[in-house]
């Protein structure tokens, strides 16, 4: 049971990550894959605050989100004023570059990671409580994004994404919308990072590399980019699958590459067979 519950915690975290990533790339149409770095920034911020100060956990989580938001502006401001395609390359460079910096900083634990993060929930029901918080936060984020998208702001975003030229010629500031979307999405990732840090009490820079980007991207693509439930379905499914595979008795040398192989194969199949993902209603012409 405990094991299933720990998977639930992870599920909540990844639902937040995939939903917020979907906000950025699916709804916002912004080609960035640097989502894990904001996840990392949130985790490290919360971790460092908890290791060095005895701070009220929700505050540390918010701090994580805030730091992620600020850093997202550092990425989006210079890159977006040029062209969307450049954001892709800059985001890769930003992610990997910041990770390198983190690996060199002693107070962040360097390459061996930040450990000894305080345990904020004592007792036998620790995992259950974390699972509740994680799922709860995921629900809040999901509903918030849903409210954002279905509201008037969402219309602005769709308009901007579908035809930026027209949008701008109507006197609207596309840049501002992009920055806001990017900031909100990244802040959510930061929150998820803080939760992650508190649950595992250990943060390691290697967990936020391109592989993580690929995983979150897979969840969004398989689930359905630009649909609301898509990322949720993607997250749940793609967390379930490796856990299940992990229990099967394949020879170990086959196991890890096999998981990776299945992941990448899944994405490739989906890109061709069902580019709109599992949950999308409409086959978008630019999917």
């Amino acid at each position: 049971m405990e094991y299933v519950i720990s998977v639930l915690v992870l599920m909540g975290i990844y639902v937040i990550l995939s939903s917020s990533f979907n906000l950025i790339i699916g709804y916002g149409g912004l080609i960035s894959i640097a989502h894990p770095i904001f996840f990392a920034l949130g985790a490290y911020t919360t971790g460092v605050l908890s290791v060095n100060f005895s701070i009220w956990p929700p505050l540390a989580l918010l701090a994580g989100g805030l730091v992620a938001l600020v850093f997202s502006l550092m990425l989006s401001l210079p890159s977006l004023r040029i062209s969307g395609d450049y954001l892709l390359i800059t985001s890769i460079g930003f992610q990997l570059g910041l990770l390198e910096v983190i690996k060199h900083l002693g107070f962040l634990g360097g390459a061996s990671g930040l450990g000894n993060i305080a345990n904020v929930i004592e007792g036998d029901n620790r995992s259950e409580i974390f699972a509740l918080i994680s799922i709860g936060l995921a629900v809040i984020v999901f509903l918030f994004i849903r409210w954002l998208i279905q509201g008037p702001y969402g219309l602005l975003v769709s308009a901007m994404r579908d035809d930026e030229l027209v949008y701008t010629s109507l006197g609207r500031n596309a840049m501002k919308v992009k920055l806001v979307i990017f900031a909100i999405g990244s802040a959510c990732a930061g929150l998820a990072g803080g939760l992650y840090a508190y649950y595992y009490q250990y943060v390691n820079p290697d967990q936020f590399e391109i592989l993580q980007s690929s995983m979150i991207l897979t969840m969004v693509v398989v689930g359905g980019m630009g649909s609301q439930w898509g990322p949720v379905v993607g997250a749940v499914l793609l967390l379930f699958l490796p856990q299940a595979i992990g229990f099967l008795s394949f020879p170990p040398s086959v196991m890890a590459p096999l998981q990776g192989l299945l992941y990448s194969l899944l994405v490739i199949i989906f890109l061709f067979v069902r580019p709109q993902g599992l949950m999308a209603r409409v086959v978008r012409k630019d999917a």
């Binding site: 892709l88 460079g93 390198e100 590459p257």
Partner: protein, 300 residues
């Protein structure tokens, strides 16, 4: 820092920039003509390496046979990828994100495949990685250095000749500028793509051959080498294959020389710093014509 140290670093830095140049040119060429940010290149680099490894160490063929086989295998695989993968997405007018996902994921897929087949031990093409050296005016010159610079120079000249002196080269430029228009003029665009891919694979084959003689490869080594290729392409200017080559040399040399200015562990960070500077100040790539036009009036 003495003169001899400086010269030594310049020499070895230049030699090592050889494979960086080849990888950057391949990436830039595909971007120029096929208009794809081909992150799958890492997967194909791996394919070259492991084909070479298998031919030399398992079939026990001579080096030249292994190289030819690797080139053929990789070119075929690349062509298949472009035809079944990229063309399909193109027909659907997919977004750049989709292309990005596909190319990256194909690289990863190939990486996992190699890991499953070859394990994750670091492998070298040849058992021994030492290369005989000689002293030339106080500078240590190894046989590998000479081979690397020689082969790279030859390859670059070959590419130059193809792009600028052959009909196929002209077609490539035409397709790069406007595929639709090129088609109207009767150019077989698909055939041009084929040749471009083959040329890129040639560059990769030579580059991986040189790299494999010097360094032990893991399944994910190629992906790590891609960063410099991408940044060199950006810095060199979109559509400037030789600009990318020059940028690759520059970046390599700066990395090598920087050890005297910054602590060696920060060297990799330098590359990212360059990426940012490029995006901020030279988004269209660094080109002399752009610089000149800042000062002169452009002719219509």
């Amino acid at each position: 820092m003495t003169l001899s140290i400086l010269l030594q670093i310049l020499w070895t830095g230049l030699a090592v920039s050889s494979y960086a140049v080849l990888f950057a040119m391949a990436f830039s060429l595909i971007l120029k003509v096929v208009k794809i940010w081909n992150f799958a290149q890492a997967g194909f680099m791996g394919l070259v390496f492991y084909s070479l490894y298998v031919s030399l160490n398992i079939f026990e063929w001579p080096m030249w046979a292994g190289v030819v086989l690797s080139f053929l295998v990789t070119t075929l695989a690349a062509i298949a990828f472009f035809h079944y993968g990229i063309e399909t997405l193109r027909a659907r007018h997919s977004s750049s994100l989709t292309f990005f996902i596909l190319t990256l994921v194909v690289s990863q897929f190939m990486g996992y495949l190699f890991a499953m087949c070859f394990g994750t031990e670091p492998l070298t093409i040849t058992k021994n990685i030492m290369s005989p050296v000689m002293l030339v005016g106080g500078i240590v010159v190894s046989h590998w250095d000479l081979q690397a610079m020689g082969l790279t120079a030859l390859t670059v000249l070959l590419v130059y000749w193809i792009l600028n002196r052959t009909h196929m080269g002209q077609f490539m430029s035409a397709v790069a500028d406007h595929p639709g228009l090129a088609r109207l003029y009767g150019i077989d665009v698909s055939r041009v793509y084929l040749y471009t891919i083959a040329l890129a694979c040639l560059l990769l084959t030579v580059g991986v051959y040189l790299l494999g003689l010097k360094v032990a490869m893991l399944p994910n080594t190629p992906l790590q080498m891609m960063l410099l290729a991408v940044i060199a392409t950006l810095l060199g200017g979109m559509g400037q294959v030789f600009g990318a080559a020059a940028a690759a040399v520059l970046l390599s040399l700066i990395q090598s020389l920087s050890v005297f200015v910054i602590p060696s562990e920060w060297q990799s960070l330098l590359i990212y710093a360059f990426l940012f500077m490029t995006i901020l100040f030279f988004p269209e790539g660094f080109s002399w014509t752009a610089m000149k036009s800042w000062f002169t009036v452009r002719r219509a």
